[in-house]
Symmetry: C2
Subunit: 321 residues, 2 copies
């Protein structure tokens, strides 16, 4: 039987490296830029486009998960091939054309959080979409990676014709000065960021109460814990449903597999756990198509039970519409 | 605690469906075509582009896995959200620009196998690559989904300037009339297809012996079982290695998880199992980046052990090069 050793896998290459030969060039030069990160699929008659904003390798330490042994967290990260002590945090936005409205769910980092994220705009262009044609922006919650893409660094509006809809509980929480004053230092930045994004456009922002539709076929559902007004969405068209989990779980390799883990950024960790389990149980029971904002691109698929937790099963990439 | 029921997830949508309103249209029409299915990454200084050809939902029955209970096969397929009695068979080609050569590893279905596959050509165009600039085609084995893309249905050469390199053991097996005559009826088609593709270009086809380099940094390794001359590739540039597993496993949700399973299309099932385990063990031991021809697009990632088998962990989508 053939034995595959490191030597016979790469040995010949190493040997050849010593054999000098005249340099040649490929007939085509390297492309030297990433491919567009766009994935388009249908939910009933709705056309859904997943647009990647990139990934932030967020530094973490032993305090990152409040109620887990850091060795266990590191083991899961290693199994997911994340770099050590960095949480791979991908960002995928969802653009939904219902036929009646072109609706963007959350807006990405606006290139204001990490040098490795901020490609949403160029992917939107590559997808053939003009930002001026977006009718509605629906925000799930007010963390910076969800709202910063509303504006440029200089506070210009990126989607000048879009109505902006936000959860009313989220608006109330982040705009309350008592909450700002009581917040730990690390969270105060997020409060100030909410003011930067919304203060000069407040009169134009619409507040929605979860449980209602924000457009025909797009239902909003309160999913508190991650933040007080954190909201998820159910898209329905014909017999198809897509559950948009927002930040119900951060990276599923950690928080679907360990739904009890309470990461630092869940404001009410216990409530977030209960919400997470209830939504993932629902996804399992109905074999629902789901997508998560921090799931690996293209971020859609299904949820199955695995051991004491859950697992994200990516959707098979489609090339027909 | 909020309870997420089917009713409150999609209830409001259903209620609203009854409320007639004046039809409106989104500011932008639906795009109505799939996004390009291209993924570009680096292995050292090599630029690797994964190009999707689509997916074939191959009908199967209780004879599909020779040595497994069909109920077990169906359970894994259900957990992977495949349709019942159809094996989701995605196809991803790999284009490697080494700087010295532009090399295509296998060529896809050529649109000659299933209506849902055959998008390689348009993805190649979307990736900015002219088929005339491909210097070399390296074939892993002679199943139709790997060689049909060499030619159009009318036997025109799609890559007119490419040297075509094939494993010598594979050439010998499929071109031997004794093997054709001894083959079961279902396999005879594949023998005839090999003749269609190669007979009029035989004098221009180069035969390689695995263990050698086909280009600087691209090593070929015999991996028999799936077919007698089935070959895998190790790409090495600088300190980076990518193992190209070809058909070492078909869909990993079935055959990485159950490496002992012998699907009908492995010509020597027992040898294929031994090869599969040896290569996957190697991938685990070295935490090697791997790609598989029938892995879900973009088809690259790592392998970890899971239970009595293995699991494919997809690579996190990169947007920087």
């Amino acid at each position: 039987m053939t034995r595959f050793t490191r030597r016979n896998l790469i040995g010949a290459s190493l040997a050849a490296a010593g054999a000098a030969s005249a340099p040649a060039e490929a007939a085509a030069p390297p492309v030297a830029r990433p491919a567009p990160s766009i994935y388009r699929y249908r939910v009933g008659t709705f056309e859904v486009t997943a647009l990647y904003d990139g990934v932030w390798y967020r530094p973490i330490d032993e305090k990152f998960v409040r109620n887990a042994d850091y060795a266990d967290v590191r083991r899961e990260m290693s199994d997911a091939f994340m770099p050590a002590e960095k949480l791979a945090t991908p960002f995928t936005m969802l653009l939904v054309n219902t036929g009646a409205k072109l609706i963007l769910l959350d807006t990405g980092t606006g290139g204001q959080i990490a040098s490795t994220a901020g490609s949403f705009g160029e992917n939107l262009t590559a997808a053939g979409i003009d930002p001026k044609t977006i009718d509605t922006i629906v925000i799930s919650h007010f963390h910076p990676d969800h709202i910063n893409g509303i504006k440029t660094k200089d506070n210009g509006l990126i989607f000048p014709n879009a109505e902006i809809m936000v959860p009313e509980a989220e608006w109330a929480f982040w705009n309350d000065d008592a909450n700002l004053n009581a917040a730990p230092a690390g969270l105060k930045t997020a409060f100030h960021n909410v003011r930067r994004i919304f203060s000069d456009i407040a009169k134009d922002v619409t507040h929605y109460r979860p449980g209602r539709l924000v457009a025909p076929g797009i239902e909003t559902i309160a999913a508190p814990g991650h933040t007080p007004g954190h909201t998820v969405f159910a898209l329905q068209s014909g017999n198809d449903v897509l559950m948009v989990l927002s930040d119900t779980t951060q990276h599923p390799a950690l928080f679907a597999r360990h739904p009890d883990w309470q990461p630092q950024f869940d404001i009410d960790g216990g409530l977030a756990v209960a919400t997470r389990k209830a939504l993932l149980d629902r996804a399992v029971a109905d074999r629902m198509l789901v997508t998560g904002y921090h799931f690996p691109f293209p971020a859609c698929g299904h949820i199955i039970r695995r051991g004491t937790g859950y697992e994200h099963v990516p959707m098979l990439w489609q090339t027909s519409l």
